[in-house]
Amino acid sequence: MTRILIVEDNEMNRDMLSRRLKRKGYEIEVAVDGQQGVDMATTGMPDIVLMDMSLPVKDGWAATRELRGKEVTAGLKIIALTAHAMHGDRQKAIKAGCDDYDTKPIDLKRLLGKIEALL
């Protein structure tokens, strides 16, 4: 079963995303800040990390860079999620080492397409 780690501080977003992905048959783990995200990704080695970019403790950019910098987690598939939807966000996310990028609110079909493309 494909395992997905959701790193998201917003409770509703976390709730929605995890429930909807579970319904689609994925195994879901959740982290609520960037540091917890790095820790859980390192220990759990999920197939996909859905990383919110504006996170407390350690933001998504830093968390991604940290994961990429460690040998074990350098190859993790990371999709950046952001509600900022700013011009240039996409480039910034790719540059920070994300494999893909999507905006919030989540369009589930679009996100599923991106997940499947990376698997």
Partner: protein, 663 residues
């Protein structure tokens, strides 16, 4: 009221406008807020409806989350807009906007996300009712709409969305730009009489205090009943209404208030705590202008109150304008009578130039119609039947005249006087009148069909059409005034009318010269008329070309010989005065309404005759009037005249008819 109908600029009632702060900015802010709040209100409304459709506790919990998210969204929108009205450094502004954008996307995302989750789960459990699906779809659509607006607002990268318009009716950039400029502009600030209704002393006093500081005049009520009394007595410009009060809650006050027509225009802003959301939505549905959540942010309160007062001021103005308009409408109706089409009334109201009520010279086309021999007919008929015939006739003709933009100036007995080309000035009044006349003649079939159904005699109409300069205007006294025409062209029209026989249309050369379409003319004659030196040429019109394409059916009036000649004595009448000469002749042939007269006298075409049929009828009153409509070759030294019977007693008509040899 008479004369000018120009509408004056009417101020709002108790609302004062003075030049101080930014009105434009607040008005734009208000517009923008309305745009953004509308989908949230709709989402909240649908959430209330959904509660009745959903039994599953998990789904109900998700619905609660939607409500929370909607409320968050509303608060964020208000906070964001308040922030936009405040002066900030560029860097601070950018970071604030970015924060609002992030939070708004998340909260709107929760609305759409949980709506989708509920949809999916109900569908899987096979518990999705049609209504619930519709409500959820609406919530989704509203949240997407809102998201699109927000994207536009923040000029976000829309990488994935199609760019199909912003969904906003407000030019947002100009709204935001106007905030940056606002402190440089001198603009208006609005103040009004506001009633604050709240049972809680401290919150009532706080609101009153805040609003007084902003320059408004405040009265307060501490209960719903007291509020209603005060509203009825003093009609405030705006009411701030607490939703929860012990004696009568805000919703009841609102409902009671809005059953009173006079109070319906008074705007109400509902003040509520966070947890009475569904009741607040009910109030909005019941007509409240807006709702504010406690604790009320003072700048937000100020902006909302001003926006609301401004709207009320406009509403008052509009209402006064409407009343003025209604007065004008009534005035026009009074002056023109009830025979003016709504369209013409609208045109008069819409045009300044068309409303020259004082009187002026204008070229118009005048139409006069007359029922042939009606005065004689009216003596024979019951008054009721007479009225029945006339009402039937006017009833058929009135809409036709209105159809061609004619204005019926008067019904004179059995005659109609109509004007084309005034009071609303038109270019094509001559041809409109001619086409109208033809259609009116054609409609006589309908008129007479009705008469036959009622066992009443058939009637015939002659129509005269003339074009010329006349004085048009509002003629009369203060109490009885009427739009009318005066001038020798009116008299000429009446004169032309006297030359027509039933079924005929005679138009003066002045009219015919102005016709653009081709016309079919059966015959042309020169006639003399009082007040006009040269004889006037008049034409018998039987058809008019495109765009009307109307042709009168040929009257198949071939006279049939009579079984025996009818001896008559006759007098030539000049106009309607009876000349003294006396002559003898015989009627040798006839058709319905027509007789052939054989006589030695030389007479001209269109001469009017009065005939006596010796032995029949005996009474002086029962005379037969006719007009020479054509002259055929002499027979046995006798002139042969075709006489159209213009006025004849029924019995005389029947007598002549009875002697016709049936072919």
């Amino acid at each position: 009221m008479q004369g000018s109908l120009r509408l004056c600029n009417l101020p709002g009632m108790g609302i004062k406008i003075s030049q101080q702060h930014s009105r434009k900015a607040s008005a734009r802010l208000d517009l923008l807020r309305q745009e953004l709040i509308a989908p949230i209100l709709s989402i909240e409304g649908h959430a209330v409806l959904l509660k009745e459709q959903i039994a599953d506790p998990d789904c109900l919990a998700d619905l609660k989350k939607i409500e929370t998210a909607a409320s968050q969204t509303r608060t964020l929108v208000d906070e964001m807009l308040v922030a936009e009205t405040q002066k900030r450094e560029d860097a601070e502004r950018d970071s604030q906007r970015s924060g609002f954008k992030h939070d708004l996307r998340n909260s709107v995302g929760a609305i759409s996300g949980y709506s989708e989750i509920i949809l999916e789960e109900l569908e899987d459990a096979d518990e999705l009712s049609e209504d619930a699906r519709a409500y959820l779809d609406n919530q989704l659509a509203d949240s997407f709409k809102l998201l699109k607006m927000l994207d536009t607002l923040f000029q976000a990268e829309r990488e994935f969305g199609e760019d199909s318009g912003t969904g906003l009716n407000v030019d947002i950039k100009s709204v935001f730009d106007s905030f940056d400029r606002s402190d440089k502009e001198t603009v208006d600030v609005i103040s009004g009489n506001i009633l604050v209704v709240d049972d809680n002393d401290s919150s009532r006093n706080l609101l009153a205090h805040q609003l007084r500081r902003q320059g408004h005049t405040i009265s307060t009520a501490s209960s719903g009943r007291q509020a209603l009394e005060m509203i009825r007595k003093s009609k405030p410009d705006l009411i701030l209404l607490d939703l929860f009060m012990p004696d009568m809650n805000g919703f009841d006050v609102l409902q009671k208030m809005y059953t009173d027509e006079a109070l319906r225009a008074v705007p109400v802003i509902i003040i509520t705590g966070l947890n009475d959301k569904s009741a607040a939505v009910k109030c909005i549905e019941a007509g409240a202008f807006d709702l504010l959540i406690k604790p009320v942010n003072p700048s937000l309160l100020g902006a909302r109150v001003v926006a609301c007062l401004e709207r009320k001021a406009w509403h008052d103005k509009e209402l006064a304008y409407q009343q003025e308009l209604e007065k004008s409408y009534t005035f026009i109706r009074k002056v023109f009578g009830r025979y003016l089409s709504d369209e013409v009334v609208q045109q008069i109201l819409a045009s300044d130039a068309g409303m020259q009520m004082g009187g002026g010279k204008q070229v118009v086309t005048i139409m006069m119609t007359d029922i042939r021999g009606f005065s004689m007919l009216s003596q024979e008929l019951d008054p009721q039947d007479c009225v029945k015939i006339l009402n039937n006739y006017f009833g058929v003709m009135t809409p036709l005249i209105q159809k061609y933009d004619g204005v019926i100036d008067e019904f004179l007995g059995d005659a109609i006087l109509a004007i084309f080309g005034a009071p609303v000035v038109t270019e094509n009044h001559a041809q409109q009148a001619v086409a109208c006349a033809i259609e009116m003649q054609q409609a006589m079939g309908e008129v007479n069909y009705n008469n036959q159904q009622w066992g009443l005699p058939s009637i015939e109409m002659g129509i005269a059409v003339n074009t010329g300069e006349v004085v048009v205007g509002n003629i009369g006294s203060e109490t009885r005034s009427k739009y009318g025409v005066v001038g020798h062209h009116v008299n000429l029209t009446a004169r032309i009318e006297s030359f027509t026989v039933g079924g005929q249309i005679m138009a003066s050369e002045y009219t015919v010269n102005q016709l653009e379409p081709e016309v079919s003319i059966a015959q042309s004659l020169k006639v003399e008329a009082k007040g006009i030196k040269e004889p006037v040429t008049i034409h018998e019109i039987i058809g008019i070309g495109a765009p009307y394409n109307l042709l009168m059916e040929d009257e198949d009036l071939v006279v049939q010989p009579l079984r025996r000649d009818i001896p008559v004595t006759f007098r030539c009448l000049s106009g309607k005065a009876i000349a003294d000469e006396h002559a003898e002749g015989v009627l040798t042939a006839a058709a319905e309404g027509v007789a052939q007269l054989s006589a030695v006298e030389d007479m001209e075409i269109l001469t009017n005759l009065r005939m006596n049929i010796p032995g029949y009828p005996s009474s002086e009153d029962d005379q037969v009037f006719g007009k020479i409509t054509s002259i055929s070759d002499k027979k046995d030294g006798q002139n042969q005249y075709i006489i159209k019977l213009t006025s004849a007693p029924l019995s005389a008509r029947k007598y002549i008819q009875s002697l016709i040899v049936q072919p």
